[in-house]
Amino acid sequence: MTAQAVVVADRISKWFGDVVAVSEVSFALGPGVTALLGPNGAGKSTTLRMIAGLAPTSQGSITVLGNNPRSDAGIRGRIGLVSQEEELFAEQRALEFVALAALLCGVANPEAAARSALGVVEMDPDDQRPISTYSKGMRQRVKVAQAIVHRPDLLLLDEPLTGLDPRQRLAMTTLIQQLGAQGMCVIVSSHVLDEVERLGSNVLVIAQGRLAAQGNFHDIRALMDNRPHRIRVRTDKARALASDLLTYGGVNGITVVDETELLVDTHQVTLFRKRIAPTARYSGAQLFEVHPLDDDLESVFKYLVGR
């Protein structure tokens, strides 16, 4: 049976003057964790803000549980948001801040709910220090606590792992996975591929404001691996190695820059990685460097957008 969608975006666009931030993006997301992956400035935060109702769409529509998040006050009680940019009420204690969020969401016992939410993010509810004295990681966890204190159906997390140390990242990742497993629709934005891999299997890739890919993380990872790659090879026998690579190395083309440097184009980067060393041995060439020139995430996104 197909799950019911919590969030449905229908050809949403957002522009600021002449700048198009999001262009005709459509998706339907149900319970579970979905990662919104894209480089900085791709439109991830704008998309999350439109889902939360903080920003109107310039075109298209968004519904959360069938309702308009911007105009329906009641549906806002079912949404939790951890924004990247917002500040906290700095002079409050964490318990006061989270309890205020609970109270304004209509939770029956705000303080008990706040204590529970702070416990979930491993913060001490009895900490008497004001939030202004907290580290970035602690503030981030308080933000998450205020977003989950009312047990929302939809949780939006904009780069939630930013500022956390490795142990806190692991704990936060586990928490996000647990919330998704409990039936909450969790949308997490990130520009870090490895983070997304740990967060969940469903991925929306946004680049240059467009939905570049959607689906299972492993399929997208394979797509990224199987795209054309350009690799720089430094060796002492460039021409001999180039000749043998064309025969055995799983390459599509080679540019000989000079006697010590090759630029290799391949669609089969995994195969190339396996064959470069034996081929060099066969050629009697020494390898000084094998360096991918376009393995950064930005290049991946450019490729996905340009397909």
Binding site: A52, G66, A73, I75, E86, L103, L104
Partner: protein, 257 residues
């Protein structure tokens, strides 16, 4: 390229009930108050008020001032400068501070009606303005005038802080330069354009505050509007509701950072 099944759109589900004003507003007021009533603001505004009182003392001790001169001094310093400036600084900071430090989202994204946020900000502003401006103006009037001046100053101050408070709460929401625009209104519109014609005068809050003072202190020289005190109060209420309604409409349409 996906092998993840696409979820089917959900029919509209019952939303959680919105939180009542009696629950949400006291909590919001409690949060807004310390953000607005900072030590620096209160000290600076109190210093301005104290300066006015000291000037009043000097004027009273230096000359024999008559009743009319006392009322004119209360109007010139209190209603022309002090009340509008205090109201501008405090009221524009209520929603303005929340918007500037990006904490408005913690009210905006809750299941509460927008008018509750606007009204909570307005009430928080009044909770600072009424005692601060009221006390300074009462002491000022007592320093230079008699009992009727004190009564007139208090009523005029209440009229002023309510009307200016609503106007500048709205201004603080819609622009980051609320102080500059507020000063333009106070100094250019009320101070200059409002005096050029009867119609322009009626569009300035000061004309109502000075008229209230004039009627209660029985000084016809300051009477800029023909309205009686009850009518002035009704006009003030209408202005207040108008500005708060405009702020609510703006908040419904705005993009929250």
């Amino acid at each position: 390229m996906t092998n993840v099944p696409t979820p089917q759109p959900s029919p509209p589900v019952a939303t959680r009930p919105t939180v009542s004003a009696s629950t949400a507003m006291p909590a919001m007021i409690k949060r807004i108050l310390p953000a607005v009533a900072t030590r620096g603001r209160l000290l600076a505004l109190s210093a301005v008020g104290l300066a006015g009182i000291l000037i009043g003392l000097a004027v009273r001790n230096g000359d024999q001032i008559d009743d009319f001169a006392a009322t004119e001094f209360i109007s010139a310093f209190g209603l022309t400068i002090f009340v509008p400036i205090v109201a501008l600084v405090i009221a524009s900071a209520t929603l303005g501070t929340l918007r500037e430090d990006r904490t408005l989202v913690y009210f905006w994204l809750r299941p509460i009606a927008r008018w509750q946020i606007v009204l909570a900000a307005f009430i928080a502003g009044l909770m600072i303005l009424v005692p601060l401006a009221g006390l300074v103006m009462a002491v000022l009037a007592a320093t230079v005038g008699d009992g009727s001046d004190v009564a007139g100053a208090i009523v005029a101050t209440l009229v002023g802080v309510v009307a200016y408070g609503a106007m500048f709460t709205f201004l603080g929401l819609i622009t980051k330069r609320a102080l500059a625009w507020g000063l333009v209104y106070i100094l250019i519109w009320e101070g200059f354009i409002g005096g050029l014609s009867r119609f322009a005068g009626r569009l300035s809050i000061r004309s109502y505050t000075t008229s209230a003072l004039s009627r209660i202190a029985d000084d016809p020289s300051l009477l800029t509007n023909p309205e009686t005190t009850p009518v002035i109060i009704v006009i003030t209420a209408a202005l207040t509701i108008g500005f708060l309604a405009a702020a609510t409409v703006y908040m419904n349409a705005m993009e929250v950072d």
